[in-house]
Amino acid sequence: MFNYVIRRLLLMIPTFLGATLLVFVILQMAPGGPLEKTIMQIQMGSTNGGGGEGGATSSGSTSGAGTLLPKRAIKELERFYGFDKPVWQRYLIWLGVWEREIKHRNLTFKSGETEVKKNMGKRRYAYVKKNGAKLEVYDKEGNISTLWTARFDMDISDAEIINFEELKSSGKLQDIPKLEATIFETEYSGILTGNLGKSYTYQQPVIEVMKPRFKVSILLGLTGLLISYLVCIPLGIKKALNHGSKFDLLSSAIIFMAYSIPGWAFGGVLLVLFGGGSFWDVFPLGGLHSPQEIWVNLSFFEKIFDQIHHAILPIIAWTIGSFAVLTVLMKNSLLDTMSQDYIRTAFAKGLSEKRVIWVHAVRNSVIPIASGIGHIIATIIAGSYFIEMIFNINGFGKMGFQAILDRDYPITMGFLVIAVIIRLIANLLSDLALAAVDPRIRFK
């Protein structure tokens, strides 16, 4: 068993890498990414460009509204968004196994200069020496610096950089006034070191953005999960025991209906009916609690009531989603078990009906339900974004969806990482749950 779990955990690694690489490449190769978006925003002269401008604004905004950005600024933007590297390198950087360049500073070589002293702040100086087409950085003791690295940051070939002076004096390269370079620190930081990057829109580390929203989704999902189990398992059992009865047919009709309407659409109906539009004003329209100015003045019990009041509709909508599948699964599974020989034997040897059902039959028929638990946990994440959208709840799913709209790649990837990990672990969990309820199953 232990070996099996270890092996499954190890197998998750290539799956995880494959899944993230796939989406990473799609995102990075896509036209209209954050880079284009920001360039466009700056060129349109928009002052409130929500997209992350961060450290790159200073150079961008100087170009003024409506004009084309200078090459220099575009380069800096590219660097800010990490688009100055080939895709595979970007992925490795994102993973944290390739050096990430941080704290860039620009420096220029005036004509004839081969060494530049650069102020790196905090009274530190770097001495950058030109050596062919490469740059070497020394600290003030004259040793090669371990902290900084530098390289030329130009669109001309290495040979042209080496012979820059001669080419310049012979009248070539007129439009390039001087050699430009960049000096930076490097570090290994990616998801393997727990760094999911910084959101472009929220200007916060991705983890900070995700934490509160994740809590909301989990709370909602677990409550929904608990309620649907509490409703579906007894209902399924009752339906199986009274197979073909009026109760069975009636509840089947409801189940068919629940199957034909997705939970979020049902949530929409509830909202129109009870949200105070044209019908009844019973429940709030959305959010997870009342607006902040009301919320802070509430007493403890009022807060609890307020929260429940807001959560009822979303949770009903959530539960409807898994209601039909779970109940039918439970019913069919119990029916299956009831027609097995050992049940007949149990009856034949004179056990009471109660004992046969509850001790012999039900225990075996929850096996498929147990194996479904992983899938259901996975849908907490995947299924929640519609419900969160409709009820305007700032949850995990809504964040991921909004991130796609905003081209906020760090958040999009962060959402994906969490979703993939949850799925992988949920799959393992359902296999383990299966082994726990079914002693016949032994994993090797």
Binding site: H243, P262, F401, I404
Partner: protein, 355 residues
């Protein structure tokens, strides 16, 4: 003595008879098929163009032009003496021709999916009335007309999607089970990666990058959705391959193609058919979800999800929430009934009763 050959009923015939005896599924099947075939000729029922126009001795059939693909659908207002720029407005013509020899017959429901407030008599957010049975939407377009056209699109989308998924899923799943080895291993890894991704999320990412058309949306969704059948087909082929009749076929020197298509496939295909309706339910739901999020078919296309989106962002306009949800609900319910009937007909499980 006359020799009477009693031909035994084929298994498929039996199944069909069983399916027919399950009224709920059978009537749903007939209903959906009829509605879908009717919806192919929707321009004749729900259209702002007249069915027949008699103008100064000549006959015109504007509505029919939309059913026949190679005929121009454009009828200029000047053709019928109407003093407006652009296309003819047949509803106005009908009113103005009350006391003349010219006449025209409008379709039963004289609105189309695209006329918005730029047509002078249309208004935004009209609640249901006798003119607009299900009201109008945020740009003054008739909701009922859009709903009906959306029905056609939804069913077509789900059908094409499901057929493609089945073809790809069955071929790859079957090949995995039959050939095994490296091929199987490769695809198993691949499928595991695919299935660990939140697929709708990936579809949304792709749709947010390229504005999808009908074909592209089907392509994208097929790409991510074919895997669910491979599990079943793989197991089925794997099991069938070890049976005696396949060994016999192999020992007779039959080719792989013949064994796969002639021997194994017919045996393992039948149970798969019961998945078909449920897969269509999934297809319709996906289209509604994507349209709702704004990542589905390009904007003027009528779709349930888009109407639902407008309705839910204007919560007082209840007709735009109820109509699409009800339409979707009844369509799906019918398809679920069909699926249930098929399952019953193909896989009759007789449960023993307690007493």
């Amino acid at each position: 003595m006359t020799q009477q050959i009693i031909k035994s009923e084929s298994i498929n015939h039996k199944r069909w008879r069983k399916f027919k005896s399950l009224k709920r599924g059978y009537y749903s099947f007939i209903l959906i098929i009829t509605l879908y075939i009717l919806s192919l000729f929707l321009p004749l029922f729900i259209n702002s163009k007249a069915l027949v126009v008699q103008y100064e001795g000549d006959y015109y059939f504007p509505a029919f032009s939309e059913v026949i693909p190679w005929v121009s659908t454009y009828y200029d207002g000047n053709m019928f003496g109407q003093d407006i720029p652009g296309a003819a407005n047949f509803r106005q013509l009908q009113k103005s021709w009350d006391d003349s020899d010219n006449w025209l017959i409008m379709p039963i429901y004289p609105f189309n999916t695209f006329e918005d407030i730029t047509n002078n008599e249309n208004r935004m957010y009209e609640p249901p009335s006798t003119t607009h049975w299900l009201g109008t939407d945020n740009t003054g377009r008739d909701v009922l007309a859009r709903m009906c056209y959306a029905f056609n699109i939804s069913i077509s989308f789900a059908f094409v999607l499901t057929v493609l998924n089945f073809i790809i899923g069955i071929s790859i799943g079957g090949a995995m089970g039959y050939f095994g080895g490296k091929f199987d291993l490769f695809f198993q890894r691949f499928i595991e990666i695919w299935s660990s991704l939140p697929l709708l999320f990936v579809v949304i990412i792709i749709s947010s990058i390229i504005q999808p058309s009908f074909a592209l949306l089907i392509f994208i969704y097929t790409m991510v959705n074919w895997i669910f059948l491979t599990y079943y087909m793989r197991a089925e082929f794997y099991r069938e391959k070890s049976k005696d009749y396949v060994s016999a076929a192999i020992s007779m020197g039959q080719s792989d193609t013949k064994i796969i298509f002639k021997h194994i496939l017919p045996n393992s295909l039948i149970p798969v058919i019961t998945y078909f309706p449920f897969s269509m339910v999934g297809g319709i739901l996906v289209l509604v979800s994507l349209d709702f999020l704004g990542f589905g078919l390009p904007p003027p296309t009528p779709s349930w999800g888009q109407i639902l989106y407008v309705g839910l962002s204007n919560i007082t306009k209840w007709w735009m929430v109820f109509s699409p949800i009800m339409a979707q609900f009844f369509t799906l319910l019918c398809i679920v009934f069909i699926g249930e009937g098929l399952r019953e007909a193909f896989d009759p499980k007789i449960y023993s009763r307690l007493r």
